[in-house]
């Protein structure tokens, strides 16, 4: 027999005390500080303490770049047909289905039209969480169409890269997208329509070896991993440890491979300034 007995049965689970803090705080992977998530969001998804740039999805990116976060999308009805019927440990078809479900996108990119400081622009933003932002036939075609649209309407183009490179599951077809995009970019270059490439974490492989490095200006976010070969491949090839900071945006800047490394909150003003330079008032 208990000396103390609770009259009303179980503990009342309702009330103030129920507020859970899980998911509201995050630990910065760089400075190890625990930070209120909202502060990060207000700081353009960068750590308020150490300015570590967290990866953001394509929609957040577009909202940050374009006036009032408003844009219209194009070409979002293109879907991969799994041309090789590729099956590794898991069928590519089921990877695609899962990625489409998780991201709500049909492939690893959004083609958008909007305004940047009042000036019409076309923005293609890559989605890293869709199979590593990899480029297959759909991404290739969507970028080619964005480039053509920009050329035809003489609208400045901005491509935001976030990609591991070509999509292996589409084999040589993904490789050919490099050729396709480079050919349409050559025509845009001939037409003198401005193109700014923004390289974000990570931009590697076939994306670096094509449009990401072909902007009139190539700018990157601080700390972004940018390279042709992945760090692991290089380590295995040369059989030595890579120097710290290797293939980070600052490293590329130092070696003359980038025009600028720009903090995320400065990117929009930077682009606006650059477009003033590249577009003459009519």
């Amino acid at each position: 027999m208990a000396w103390f007995k609770r009259d009303s049965g179980d503990v009342d689970p309702s009330g103030e005390k129920k507020i859970r803090t899980e998911g509201l705080w995050v630990k910065c992977e760089q400075c190890r500080q625990v930070i209120w998530k909202k502060d990060i969001e207000e700081n353009f998804h960068c750590c308020p303490k150490c300015e570590k740039h967290f990866r953001i999805d394509a929609r957040t990116r577009l909202a940050q770049l374009l006036d009032d976060g408003a844009y219209e999308t194009d070409d979002d009805n293109l879907v991969s047909i799994d041309p090789l019927k590729f099956v590794d440990l898991k069928p590519y078809a089921s990877r695609l289905t899962a990625a489409r479900r998780d991201t709500g996108l049909n492939d690893a990119i959004i083609n958008a039209r909007g305004k940047l400081n009042g000036r019409p622009v076309i923005v293609s933003a890559m989605e890293y969480s869709f199979i590593g932002g990899s480029m297959g036939a759909v991404v290739g075609e969507m970028i080619a169409r964005a480039v053509e649209r920009a050329t035809d309407t003489r609208t400045p183009l901005i491509i935001v890269s976030a990609s591991g490179g070509a999509r292996m599951m589409e084999g040589v077809i993904s490789l050919m997208q490099l050729a396709k995009i480079s050919a349409v970019l050559a025509r845009m270059d001939d037409a003198k329509v401005p193109y700014i490439s923004i390289l974000t974490d990570p931009t590697t492989g076939g994306v670096t070896a094509s449009f990401a490095m072909l902007g009139d200006l190539n700018i990157a976010e601080p700390g972004a991993l940018i390279g042709f070969a992945g760090p692991r491949v290089i380590e295995q090839t040369i059989r030595q440890k890579l120097p710290p900071g290797f293939q980070r945006a600052e490293f590329l800047l130092e070696h003359g491979m980038l025009d600028a490394v720009v903090h995320r909150k400065e990117i929009k003003p930077y682009i606006a300034r650059a477009l003033d330079f590249m577009v003459k008032a009519a």
Partner: protein, 372 residues
């Protein structure tokens, strides 16, 4: 093989002896044929048995060749002689049919092995046989001369052309010198510089691809491997001279594509072209590099696959058993193909040729569906 060995030394003065010799070769052929058939077990065959069968068949072919040049067969014709001649001809046809059959049975991984065969002709072997008056152009004028890509002026059937491509090597010292055919950025920049030089003076460009890929090293990244490749893709698409690319061996991803934006992209029968090496794909997707044969098959990397997917414009036949078995024949076949394609391109008005090149790459690899 003692039978064929003795046949090689002694002449056969009489047609009767000749007849025996032909029968002996026929016997050997039947042995190879039945051995070949029994080595197939439904899952394809081992590269070892392919090589062995091709070796034996090549030896039989040589012996038949010798028999044909015997004075007894070349002399005035008799009935018996005609019969023997007929027999020789038939045997020859059967041998070459079997060799072609064996070639057609190779899977993607076996083709990869052939594409990497150390005896396969390399670019300098082709240059020596297809072109004349070769004089090399070195250096990218900003950093170094990359020996894994060679460029130079040459003449093709008397016409001035630019030739460039990856160069591999056979002995260790040379392999290191050529960096195993894996260029650094300066290699691609040298190639672009040379192509713009040809463009300026209106000379056609021949490029030859045979690389495991662009070199993945620290220096390569520091000097902008990605940028160098990207720049080549863009600039090649708008060069105003005919460009013909041949994938002669390994077409390794961006490192291959960087010199393969052309009006005509040809693949030799046993070459491969892929976005990543079968080993690389296997270790990433299967987490097991030994699954390279499965990966090779899954990625569809053979010449036949690429033609079917409209990613290249044609296949150049190789001599039976592969280019490594007969450099002269392989070169002759390639030379004929290059000549025909160059003639076709030169017959086109320039603007039309450029528009065709653009349209080809604009519509390449279009595999998607439109929903809604």
């Amino acid at each position: 093989m003692s039978l064929s060995a003795t046949l090689g030394n002694e002449g056969y003065p009489r047609t009767a002896g000749l007849h025996t010799a032909v029968v002996a070769q026929e016997f050997l052929f039947l042995m190879v044929e039945s051995h070949w058939k029994s080595s197939q077990n439904g899952h394809g065959v081992k590269m070892e048995s392919v090589n062995k069968a091709q070796d034996e068949l090549q030896r039989i072919e040589q012996q038949i060749g010798k028999l044909k040049s015997q004075p007894a067969l070349a002399g005035p014709e008799s009935g018996q002689q005609q019969a023997v001649q007929q027999q020789v001809k038939e045997l020859q046809e059967r041998v070459s049919a079997l060799r072609r059959h064996i070639d057609s049975q190779l899977d993607a991984w076996q083709r990869t092995e052939l594409a990497r065969h150390p005896q396969r002709p390399y670019l300098l072997d082709y240059i020596e046989r297809i072109f004349t008056d070769w004089s090399e152009i070195h250096g990218d004028r900003s950093f170094a001369d990359d020996a894994s890509i060679i460029c130079g002026m040459a003449r093709f059937h008397g016409e001035d052309v630019l030739v460039l491509g990856h160069q591999k090597a056979r002995d260790t010292k040379q392999k290191v010198y050529r960096n195993f055919g894996m260029p650094n950025p300066e290699g691609y920049r040298k190639a672009l510089r040379a192509m713009q030089f040809a463009n300026k003076f209106g000379r056609p460009i021949f490029t030859f691809v045979d690389t495991p890929g662009a070199y993945p090293g620290i220096g390569a990244e520091e000097r902008g491997q990605g940028e160098a490749i990207a720049r080549n893709l863009l600039e090649m698409s708008r060069l105003r001279v005919p460009i013909i690319t041949t994938i002669t061996g390994e077409g390794g991803s961006g490192g291959a594509l960087a010199i393969a934006i052309a009006d005509r992209v040809l693949m030799m029968e046993n070459s491969v072209y892929s976005v990543i090496s079968p080993e690389g794909c296997a270790s990433i997707m299967w987490r097991d590099p030994s699954k390279r044969d499965v990966a090779a098959q899954a990625m569809r990397i053979t010449a036949k696959d690429l033609v079917e997917m409209n990613c290249v414009d044609g296949v150049v036949q190789e001599p039976e058993g592969g280019a490594h078995r007969d450099h002269e024949a392989a070169t002759a076949l390639l030379s004929t193909a290059l000549l025909a394609h160059l003639a076709e391109l030169k017959a086109l008005p320039l603007e039309q040729m450029l528009e065709q090149r653009y349209q080809k790459f604009r519509t390449i690899g279009q595999f998607f569906r439109v929903e809604g």
